[in-house]
């Protein structure tokens, strides 16, 4: 059944199905009902990552070193966890700037540099050639093996037959025709290829099903499940060693780590991955599903790699069958024709998916970033005068697709035979990893410059070329092998596989270390060495701060100049065709409440920017800039103007920052106000307390005065003795009233700071003597014994004599009040201390409760109340005394113990 014509017929039938799917999806897209606008199709299209390398090569690698193939799929799983941070940003940037390819992205970031776009394109094309040749090799090899059925013969052993040569060439040409039909049927302003994406998603399903089918067949039909298969393999010492293949950290783990890093970069920067993940993305929200569905896909397609590899090694023990072909040769050996055919179709789908997307992505780059910038600059071609350039653009792309596939075939001829599938693919991975510093640096670091990106890319690519591509060519016999063994011109330090003597690493690890060192070093070094130009500054800001921009119009702020709407329209029509240009202008007019072409449109900065963005979708940002500049006379922005414009953007941030600050200040003020209010309330309460206390104090004597005067008034016949007693009480109460009022006035003066203080030098010895003398009558009346202890001489103090006398009298009268009548004893002492004089007045009264000691100096607090049952003063005396002492810089306190008298003391600083 498996003759050549049957196989070819099946292959064509499969491609026909693909084409039908693509056609249907394109029709639906044109009708505005896209089939690919969902997260599942997006996730499946990402699985274009799994190529013939995965389909055939993983098993080959697993058959030689066990789990060594897995970093290629674990790396993307780790990277995709960062997509929420990185890919979301790239998507937003690309949508706002109508990015059409990876080269366009890098060129646009670094000031729309045509040179940079060109270099990226060259690196991408050269770097991807090995990868494309891998697909050609896989497809032609699988055909050549299948067509030998039921024999199992490796293509290498066929010798240099014409048939073998031709197969790969035919595959290349066939794929070129197919890709042209897919990807360049018409020109889309957004570079969307919805039909292609639908076909790719379908291919992803086909290759997964085919691979799982082989896996299930080998594991459960050929053997009795995983346990049986691994058990039989473990019985052979050589295979058992492959189950713990990470022995020896230097080689095993280092290469494991570098492969992981390499594939982390590859999932971002392979042109086809960038194409499906970024350019073809219709909705940022699809990312949420793809983030876990795509890794799940990779897990699924890798589940049976190891079982198939071990199955193959057990089935073909001699080593005559290449591990890369186990997927196909196992079903063939078991006479499973249908399964073998399914495998062939699966491999074909893996290869075609890769080739289609990759060449479309590369041809877009070649056209937009390499050929067009050159053609547009060649004035002799008069491209500016051409009415319609869409045909030219499509022609360039078609030519590029054919050229790229033929170059892939050439590489296959030159170097393809010397390497296994995986090794060929890794060379391409290492090439695209060179884009990582420029892209990742470009979206997170404003300081990266055009010179930095140029330097990094060129340096990294040069090292890649020297350490990976050159050895590949040398091993295939196209360059003298001495280059590898002795180094160029016999200089051992420059050996491509052990540069500067760095030996003992595998080829990829070695190349990655040196190329990344050169790349990142040059990128950072050149970026820091010189400051960026105006264009670079603007683009850096647009890219890095993309989440802070207001949308597509964001770029318009940076344009100053004059243009005319009809000229802009003509420009767009030349590149996109009249219909697309009409659509674009109608959309623009509608968005601005105008009609096109009825109303004239103002060719302001916004329209110019709009046209440039539309154009960028078709011919890339660097070319679009050149073309717009040819019809719109731009006034160059000076760096001051640019800085001003950038400041405008920052202004918003500053405003919101200020607003925040203001609200903080407001909060603080509110808190202060609240505190002040609390204080006022407290003062108000204290005032109320004061007023009520004072009223109470006033009412007590007033009540008794009123009572006695009333008695005297109503009973004129009261005898003389009684009368004089009553009058005595009235006089005493009046005195008390006067004293209280005086004290209240005194206190209010002191507290309001209105009291008059007359300072002079005061001799405390004299003052104390005077005070005691003044009180002597009271002491005598109450039979109180007074001891005064005065030193011979004390330094004078500065104070108001009358006030200090007031204090002394207050203390002495208090002491007298509380002394035990009849056995009273008061001791007054004066001492000189360091810097101050200390005065003590001690009595032998009942003492003061510790709780009262704390409050006794407060207004209207009297310790005596509870002890004697009757208030014995205004309760203001001690308070005023303390205020006076403190006014002169002294201190007043009380020491006492219940039952052992009280001692009031104060200090005053001496001169």
């Amino acid at each position: 059944m498996l003759q050549g014509p049957v196989i070819i017929l099946c292959a064509f039938a499969y491609l026909g199905v693909l084409f039908a799917i693509a056609y249907y999806a394109d029709q639906r897209a044109d009708a505005g009902r896209p089939v690919i606008a969902n997260a599942y199709v997006y996730s499946l299209s990402l699985a274009v990552y799994a190529t013939a390398w995965t389909f055939y090569g993983s098993v080959g690698r697993a058959a030689s070193d066990g789990v060594g193939f897995l970093p290629i799929y674990i790396g993307p799983t780790l990277m995709i966890a960062l997509w929420w941070v990185v890919m979301r940003k790239i998507l937003r940037i690309s949508k706002q700037n109508r990015i059409t390819s990876l080269a366009d992205f890098i060129a646009s970031r670094y000031g729309k540099s045509a040179l940079l776009g060109g270099i990226v394109t060259v690196i991408a094309v050269v770097g991807i050639l090995p990868y494309i040749s891998l697909q050609l090799k896989a497809v032609s090899a699988s055909y050549l093996i299948l067509v030998q059925y039921p024999e199992i013969v490796m293509p290498q052993t066929l010798g240099e037959t014409p048939m073998r040569e031709d197969t790969a060439l035919w595959v290349a040409l066939l794929l070129a025709a197919f890709t042209i039909a897919f990807g360049t049927r018409h020109l889309d302003a957004a570079e969307h290829h919805q039909g292609m994406v639908a076909a790719i998603a379908f291919e992803s399903l086909v290759k997964l099903i085919a691979f799982l089918a082989v896996g299930v067949f080998v594991t459960f039909f050929l053997y009795d499940g995983l346990g049986d298969l691994f058990g039989r393999a473990a019985a052979q010492p050589k295979l058992r060693a492959m189950m713990t293949p990470l022995e020896g950290v230097a080689g095993g783990y280092a290469s494991w780590v570098w492969l992981t890093i390499l594939s982390m970069m590859a999932i971002m920067f392979l042109p086809r991955q960038f194409q499906v993940a970024v350019i073809e993305n219709l909705n940022e929200k699809h990312l949420s599903k793809a983030i876990w569905l795509f890794p799940l896909y990779m897990l699924a397609i890798n589940l049976f790699v190891l079982p198939i590899a071990f199955g193959g090694l057990l089935r073909f023990p001699g080593g005559g069958v290449d591990g890369d072909t186990f997927v196909l040769t196992l079903p063939m050996a078991e006479k499973q024709e249908a399964l073998a055919l399914l495998v062939f179709i699966g491999g074909l789908s893996a290869a075609t998916g890769m080739v289609i997307v990759e060449t479309i992505a590369l041809s877009t780059m070649v056209c937009n970033d390499l050929v067009m910038p050159v053609l547009l600059r060649m004035r002799s071609l008069r491209l500016n005068a051409q009415p319609d350039l869409t045909g030219l653009l499509l022609g360039i792309r078609r030519g590029a697709i054919v050229l790229i596939l033929l170059l892939g075939y050439l590489y296959f001829k030159l170097a393809g035979e010397a390497y296994a599938l995986v090794s060929i693919g890794l060379i391409s991975f290492a090439a695209v990893a060179q884009f990582a510093p420029a892209v990742l640096g470009g979206i997170f670091w404003k300081g990266g410059t055009r010179m930095g990106a140029l330097g990094g890319l060129v340096a990294g690519f040069a090292v890649w070329f020297y350490t990976l591509l050159l050895p590949a060519l040398a091993r295939s016999g196209w360059l003298p092998i001495g280059l590898l063994e002795q180094g160029p011109f016999g200089i051992a330090l420059l050996k491509p596989l052990a540069l500067f003597g760095l030996a003992g690493l595998d080829q990829i690890t070695h190349a990655m270390i040196w190329s990344m060192l050169a790349n990142i070093g040059a990128y950072v070094g050149f970026s820091l060495a010189a400051s960026p130009g105006v264009d670079e500054h603007r683009q850096a800001s647009l890219f890095v701060d993309v989440f802070r921009q207001a949308g597509e119009a964001g770029g318009a702020r940076f344009w100053r100049g004059t243009a005319s709407a009809p000229e802009l329209y003509n420009l767009l029509a030349r590149f996109l065709g009249v219909a697309a240009a009409d659509d674009a202008f109608e959309d623009y007019a509608k968005a601005h409440g105008r009609r096109w072409p009825g109303d004239g449109l103002e060719a302001d900065a916004e329209l110019v920017h709009y046209v440039e963005v539309q154009l960028a979708g078709a011919i890339g940002s660097a070319s679009a800039r050149v073309m717009v500049a040819s019809v719109a006379k731009e006034e160059a922005l000076t760096s001051d103007e640019l800085r001003e414009l950038l400041d405008e953007a920052s202004q918003v941030v500053v405003y919101s920052h200020r607003l925040e600050q203001k609200s903080h200040e407001l909060e603080a003020a509110t808190a202060e106000l609240r505190a002040a209010n609390e204080q006022l309330k407290e003062l108000d309460r204290m005032k109320d307390d004061f007023v009520s206390t004072v009223s109470h104090e006033l009412r007590t004597p007033l009540t008794s005065i009123r009572a006695f005067t009333q008695i005297l008034l109503e009973h004129p016949n009261v005898d003389a003795g009684q009368r004089s007693k009553f009058l005595g009480i009235i006089t005493k109460e009046t005195e008390r009233l006067t004293r209280l009022i005086n004290q209240v006035l005194d206190l209010s003066k002191i507290e309001s700071g209105k009291a008059e203080w007359q300072e002079s030098r005061v001799d405390m010895r004299e003052l104390i003597g005077d005070a005691v003398t003044g009180m002597s009558q009271v002491f005598e009346e109450q039979a109180i014994k007074v001891d005064v202890e005065l030193p011979q001489k004390v330094p004078p103090v500065r104070a108001d004599v009358d006030r200090i006398i007031q204090v002394m009298l207050n203390l002495l009268s208090n002491a007298a009040k509380f002394c035990e009548p009849g056995r009273g004893q008061i001791r007054v002492a004066l001492q000189t201390q360091a810097g101050a004089l200390r005065v003590e007045v001690r009595d032998n009264g009942p003492g003061i409760d510790p709780a009262d000691q704390r409050v006794i100096f407060d207004k209207f607090r009297q310790a005596g109340d509870t002890l004697t049952g009757k208030p014995q003063g205004s309760g203001l005396g001690l308070h005023i005394s303390r205020q006076i002492v403190e006014h002169f810089g002294g201190r007043m306190w009380v020491e006492s113990e219940l039952g052992h008298g009280a001692c009031f003391a104060f200090t005053l600083p001496h001169e």
């Binding site: 929420w84 995983l226 691994f230 990470l246």
Partner: protein
């Protein structure tokens, strides 16, 4: 969950992956023997991989 929180969780998950699929954790499972008939290293890698994907799903879909 706010954007910053989500970003941080994704970055942390990536770091977890880096630890799981690297020396020295990997070396702990680079031993002979088998679990349910599957060599220990293979079983570990696929189990850890599935775990990371499950966490990715949980994080991306909430």
């Amino acid at each position: 969950m706010d954007d910053k929180g989500k970003e941080q969780r994704f970055v942390a998950l990536c770091m977890l992956g880096v630890v799981l699929f690297n020396f020295p954790v990997l070396a702990l499972f680079n031993v002979g023997g088998s679990i349910l008939g599957i060599p220990v290293l293979y079983a570990y890698i696929f189990a850890a991989w599935a775990l990371v994907i499950a966490l990715l799903c949980w994080l991306a879909e909430r």
